[in-house]
Amino acid sequence: MIKSGTMKSEVTVLLDEVGQSNGDNHEALEKLLPVVYNELRRLAASFLNREHQVSLQTTELVHEAYFKLTNQRSVDWENRGQFFAIAAQAMRRILIDAARKRKSLKHGLEKVSLDDSPTISTEMDAGLLVLDEALLELEKFDEQQCRIVELRYFSGLTIEETAEVLKISPATVKREWTIARAWLYQRIKAE
């Protein structure tokens, strides 16, 4: 179990690890993912409860989680990039897991909690699940595009921020983002 006290250093150290291996350190990534996953979900719940918001964008959440987990006052851009890459994957999982769960609840006879917001439509859940499937397919032949989609859509990063995280030019991000959206759109529409 990761204690909150040691988690900060662990996340920072692991981020450095990932950074040094140019993201190839899958073991460190795997260790980081659950940490970030839990923190993001926790933060999201607390944001929503605190602000009585109906909804919020993920950008703020991811930044907040970054500062919380790394305990850094100044921004280490190298670290931050790695972190956003992981956070984007974590956000994706959070949303997909939640959508799956609701889907399974509806299939079953269990009572739907009143806390479940009526603003989340079944349509949106379905959209998320098919998007996830399409992304899984895209990832097989274009991993970078998949990452770009995660960063832009699930983490809310700008073109420039995305470029920074992936260490490619903003023009490339823009071009690949366009193609990815087009491909995903036609893939989902074809279903």
Partner: protein, 863 residues
């Protein structure tokens, strides 16, 4: 879609997307057949997907509602009823559960993969953990019971349920003592050792992975990132897997991503032990950057646990409450053991967890441990590179390895066919033991701080010889070696010369064992050397007996020594060694005669002069500086006897109230002491102490003669020498004893100068040391006499203060009252000595002196 085709599609899309719609149709038709349709589809999707996922996803209630991880509770998995969640790691969840359909209630723990974490890699690792656990069966490792795939397709395994607390918390909550902590630690080591023997490296040992049950049984949990040495899955490539760790407990090689071996677990156990003992980890890596972590763990030497233990009382930033352990309990062996496990270089750590545990267990049993202080070795090595200190540790290890095995096997097979081979080994061991006892021992003899090391060395070697001797009675050479071994042990325990451990009783036992062998050899052999050797042991026994004031036995041994040596001198009158020895024996007889109650003082003086006569007749030459087999040169022997004989005559004069004569003779003693100190460069510790004594005597005479500034010069020099010797070896009894006398002399000088306050400060320093010495060796009458004299002198100083006091009458009376109580305290010591028959002749007037002093000061109080 293959990626080459996809790359072509993307390139075509990008160039076409920027074209004017008219040009685009043309360009599209130019595209190769295999990509044309795809590009076309993409272009049209692009036009329609303006808003598609263009805005980041929105979070809302419901989406982020906490997943109910307790959804398993109350359900059954493969016949286990899930009771409650007891843990959650990065990838797994742990529940307590109960086995259904069983005659007895068995509570277990079930580990599952967390939802959303079920990637291929994680599933593989999960399976590996299960495989590893199934290979381990040990009382201190949580046992695997069952495992499988649950109905909805996720893997799980069932383990023994460990009900307890994490290690550190347990130690704090239960307020465990040092011993209890070490006992638990040993069990943990046995678990890790078991894993290693099954080719499993844990790699993530930390207190939170170790649970301790109420009955103090620790259990190792979580082999989640353990490595199977026999496993060669590509995933186990150390370059990647080697980088997962908990930084606080990770070894330098883990942090640097180097090869991870069983030594990594030794290191992590070292950190765990460090924390158990000192209440804090060796490095603070919390909140540090990776670079800083690397710097601490890989480059910085950790502070000794004893220092960390002490420091944390100054801070409030402790993660666990400091253990109820005294700093002195950690100093020495435990410090060394922990630091050895924490060496940066894996090859410098314990070779195995077993060896680590063995050292801890040796500590617990009061046996010498193998871990040595690095700094000591370093310091000593620098101080005397030429003294071969470096080989000692190695020699000890070799000896314990080879000899331990060989002696046992020799005894076991001696009757068998392999006798010849065994005898050969036997002789090897014997050579090694002898070399250790003499060459190695002598090479460190004069090193400051070496006394305990010498004792260890000698006792070990002797132990081996003892075993050998039991099987080889009648071998004269071996008997002689044994005698020498016992003699050496006696020297280290409590010999009168050289630094020792102050254990007079032990020394006597060892010497007498030696003497019994030596005397039988004298009877069997015609070699004058045997006489000399036996005489020498007599003389050593005599000296110890003198220290403990057993004059009757002492006289016997002293006169025996002189008698037994006579045939040797007769056979070889020009033999320097015999001459010097004879000079020493006369000195010793003189000493006995002045100490004994009815001793003849004139016979004593005659013997002192005889001794000086013999030694001064030996012409000085460079050859005298050559080392003898016992490590001393002839010159050293001569000068130490000479200075001592002069010193004794001086003391005699002092007792006879002849200060001028005493001063002159003491100066001769000082001269000889200076010669003694200059024989070796750097001078030996022993010669420095002798020099200190001589300086003190001359200083005291100067002080008595009223030459106070001269006196201070001598005494200051004395204090400096003694303080150095005590600092270098706090166990050195003689140096401490002399330091106490030096403070006393300084107290005397201050008193003479009229500064009673400063005088009392020095006298109390002297008093503290002499009381400490009495604790160490309650049989040292000489020291007890000094103590009584110091106390009496404190009384004198108070009396003097009282008589000079011009203040209120009350303060005068106070001083007298003080003086009286100190005199009485001194008197009590003398009386006790006499009651036990231990009052030496030269102290015989002391009881009377104190009675007179008490009467005097009581009278003053009344008037």
């Amino acid at each position: 879609m293959d990626s080459i085709r996809w790359a072509k599609i993307k390139a075509a899309f990008s160039s076409l997307d920027e074209m004017h719609p008219d040009a685009r149709i043309e360009a599209l038709s130019q595209l190769p057949d295999d990509i044309r349709d795809e590009v076309k589809k993409l272009l049209s999707a692009h036009e329609q997907s303006e808003d598609f996922i263009s805005q980041p996803v929105l979070l809302a209630h419901g989406i982020v509602e906490n997943e109910r991880e307790d959804r398993f509770i109350g359900k059954t998995i493969s016949g286990y009823l899930i009771l409650e969640k007891i843990g959650s790691g990065g990838m797994g969840l742990v529940y307590s559960a109960e086995r259904l359909n069983s005659d007895f209630t068995q509570k277990v723990a079930i580990k599952l993969i967390k939802r959303g974490m079920d990637s291929d890699a994680i599933e593989k690792r999960f399976a590996r953990e299960r495989k590893i656990l199934s290979s381990l069966k040990h009382p201190n490792i949580a046992q695997l019971i069952d495992g499988g795939i649950a109905s909805d397709d996720f893997p799980f395994f069932v383990m023994e349920l460990v009900e307890g607390k994490p290690l550190n918390q347990f130690c704090v909550d239960e307020k465990l003592t040092l011993r209890e902590r070490l006992d638990i630690f040993l069990l943990i080591c046995s678990a890790v050792d078991h894993a290693h023997k099954n080719l499993v490296i844990h790699r993530d040992l930390k207190p939170t992975n170790i649970f301790v049950s109420k009955d103090r049984i620790p259990k190792l949990l979580d082999f989640g990132i353990a490595k199977l040495l026999s496993d060669d899955e590509p995933e186990l490539n150390t370059a990647t897997l080697g980088k997962i760790f908990t930084p606080e407990y990770a070894s330098p090689e883990q942090i640097l991503g180097n090869r991870v071996t069983t030594s990594t677990d030794v290191y992590s156990l070292g950190v765990i032990l460090y924390e158990l003992l000192a209440g804090h980890r060796p490095y603070d890596v919390k909140g540090k950057s990776f670079d800083e972590v690397v710097k601490s763990v890989c480059e910085t030497e950790p502070p000794r646990p004893s220092i960390t233990l002490e420091n944390q009382f100054d801070t409030t930033d402790t993660e666990i409450a400091p253990p109820q352990i005294e700093r002195r309990e950690l100093r020495g062996d435990l410090d060394n053991i922990v630091l050895k496990a924490l060496r940066k270089d894996p090859s410098e750590r314990y070779g195995s967890v077993y060896q680590f545990a063995e050292d801890v267990s040796r500590y617990l049993r009061g046996l010498p441990v193998s871990a040595r202080s690095q700094t000591y070795k370093y310091r000593a090595g620098k101080y005397v590179a030429r003294h071969r200190v470096g080989v000692i540790a190695a020699a000890l290890v070799v000896l314990s390895l080879i000899t331990g095995i060989t002696v046992a096997s020799w005894q076991a097979i001696v009757a068998g066919k392999e006798r010849a081979k065994a005898e050969e080994r036997f002789s090897d061991v014997r050579t090694l033991a002898n070399s250790l006892m003499f060459e190695v021992h002598d090479s460190i003899k004069d090193l400051p701080g070496s006394t305990p090391a010498r004792k260890l060395l000698v006792e070990r070697a002797l132990n081996y010889l003892d075993k050998l001797a039991a099987d080889s009675k009648g071998d004269m050479t071996l008997q002689s070696e044994l005698a020498a071994g016992y003699e050496k042990t006696g020297d280290v325990q409590g010999g009168s010369l050289g630094s020792n451990l102050g254990d007079s009783k032990g020394a006597l036992i060892s010497y007498k064992k030696s003497l019994a062998i030596r005397e039988s050899l004298v009877r069997k052999s015609r070699d004058p050397k045997e006489n000399y050797l036996a005489a020498n042991v007599h003389s050593k026994i005599f000296r110890v007996l003198m220290l403990v004031n057993d004059f009757k036995d002492a006289e016997f041994h002293c006169r025996s020594a002189i008698e037994i040596l006579k045939p040797s001198l007769k056979a070889e009158p020009q033999n320097l060694l015999y001459q010097v020895t004879s000079a020493r024996f006369h000195l010793e007889l003189g000493d006995l005669l002045v100490s004994k109650k009815d001793g003849d003082a004139n016979e004593a003086l005659t013997n002192y002069r005889k001794s000086i006569e013999i030694s001064e007749a030996i012409p000085s030459s460079e050859a005298l500086k050559e080392k003898m087999p016992d490590g001393l040169s002839m010159a050293e022997k001569i000068f130490s006897v000479t200075q001592m004989a002069y010193r004794r005559i001086g003391q005699n004069a002092e007792l006879r109230q002849q200060p001028k004569e005493a001063f002159e003779v003491y100066k001769k003693a000082l001269e000889a002491s200076q010669k003694l100190a200059s024989v070796n460069d750097p001078p030996t510790v022993q010669s420095q102490i002798v020099l200190a004594i001589s300086l003190g005597n001359v200083g005291r005479m100067e002080a008595k003669a009223g030459k106070l500034s001269e006196a201070s010069r001598y005494i200051d020099a004395m204090i400096e020498l003694c303080e150095k010797a005590v600092a270098a070896d706090p166990q050195n009894y003689l140096a401490m004893s002399q330091l106490s006398l030096a403070y006393g002399s300084l107290g005397f000088v201050y008193h003479k100068r009229g500064d009673n306050d400063k005088s009392l400060v020095e006298l109390r320093k002297s008093l503290v040391l002499q009381e400490k010495l009495r604790e160490k060796d309650p049989n040292d009458v000489y020291n007890i006499g000094n103590l009584a004299e110091t106390i009496a002198f404190i009384g004198e100083v108070y009396e003097d203060s009282g008589s000079k006091s011009v203040g209120p009458k009350e303060s005068k009376l106070n001083s007298y009252r003080e003086a009286s109580s100190w005199y009485k305290r001194s008197l009590q010591i003398w009386v006790d000595l006499e009651k036990n028959g231990k009052l030496p002749a030269y102290f015989s007037t002391k009881i009377e002196d104190q009675n007179v002093a008490i009467a005097r000061v009581e009278k003053r109080r009344r008037t």
